[in-house]
């Protein structure tokens, strides 16, 4: 059997099977509680977080998540909460599982000057991106009195 042909065929099938996904926007809802309706166990998705002059930028690995299965909630006192449900394929024998059958959940505390009510989020290729703008903080001058 020509293995080059096998590899080539596999790539063609992957091209056919892959769907180009654009980034899907997810509304950020107000309120701190996220209720888990399914009985799936929860896992913590890994997160990268950046801060620049304008915003906090957060990326979370949530493979299998999409805009219908992801919820992002903001509460001023407790910060951001993310819940992403995923559906594991059910065929045949139970797997010695490593990834399937878990929902993703993560809570992230942010500083007071994070404006969560203006936060936006989107998901693409299993990566959730959240942008939380910063409030303008007016520097306060501290008067200094000489003794």
């Amino acid at each position: 059997m020509a293995w080059n042909n096998v590899i080539s065929n596999l790539h063609q099938k992957l091209r056919r099977g892959a769907t180009r996904h654009r980034s899907e926007s997810i509304p950020v809802v107000a309120g701190g509680e996220l209720e888990q309706l399914s009985s799936s166990p929860l896992d913590t998705p890994p997160v990268d977080m950046f801060e620049n002059e304008r915003e906090f930028l957060i990326h979370a690995d949530v493979p299998g998540g999409n805009r219908h299965s992801a919820t992002v909630a903001w509460d001023a006192s407790s910060g951001l909460k993310v819940l992403v449900k995923r559906t594991a394929p059910r065929i045949g024998a139970d797997p010695a599982g490593e990834d399937g059958g878990v929902d993703w959940y993560r809570a992230l505390a942010l500083p007071e000057y994070a404006d969560g009510l203006r936060a936006t989020s989107s998901i693409r290729d299993g990566v959730l991106t959240i942008r939380v703008p910063k409030r303008k903080v007016t520097p306060k001058r501290i008067p200094v009195h000489s003794g």
């Binding site: 059997m1 293995w3 096998v6 590899i7 065929n9 596999l10 790539h11 099938k13 992957l14 091209r15 099977g17 892959a18 769907t19 180009r20 996904h21 890994p46 997160v47 990268d48 977080m49 950046f50 801060e51 620049n52 002059e53 915003e55 906090f56 930028l57 990326h59 690995d61 949530v62 493979p63 299998g64 998540g65 999409n66 594991a88 394929p89 059910r90 065929i91 045949g92 024998a93 797997p95 010695a96 599982g97 490593e98 990834d99 399937g100 059958g101 998901i123 290729d125 299993g126 990566v127 991106t129």
Partner: protein
């Protein structure tokens, strides 16, 4: 019946700073009468950055997730900046030309059809 289980090799993270770190994607393997289904978590991976190879009995998944916007100071770093790689020993008799691959939402599904010889068959019984 021949053994159709997949055996796996997890790639260890590389210690050299010159290369990107590598990690083995989390995988589930399902099996029914007609196929083995391999499900691999590969967040951030697109079709263009994914390489699936079958070389004789070794199946290799390798991928480089697309770089994400990382503007600003890094406050927390838990997942960024690594590649995926994992190898599987494919059981004999898998129909290589029948392998089907799907990539959706950062999850790769590989359907590996079992050979006819190992599929259970129902034997019709006729009344004498």
């Amino acid at each position: 019946m021949s053994d159709t289980r997949l055996t796996t090799t997890k790639t260890q993270p590389l210690a050299t700073a010159a290369e990107r770190r590598k990690t083995a994607p989390a995988c589930d393997v399902y099996e029914n009468d007609s196929e083995i289904l391999l499900v691999a978590d590969m967040p951030g991976v697109t079709q263009e950055t994914l390489d699936v190879r079958l070389d004789r009995s070794e199946l290799t998944l390798a991928a480089r997730p697309a770089p994400m916007d990382s503007s600003g100071a890094k406050l927390r770093s838990e997942y960024g900046g690594y590649d995926f790689e994992r190898r599987f020993a494919v059981p004999d008799g898998i129909d290589a030309n029948g392998i089907r691959a799907e990539l959706q939402q950062g999850v790769l599904k590989l359907h590996l059809p079992k050979p006819e010889g190992v599929r259970p068959r129902q034997i019709p019984v006729r009344a004498g």
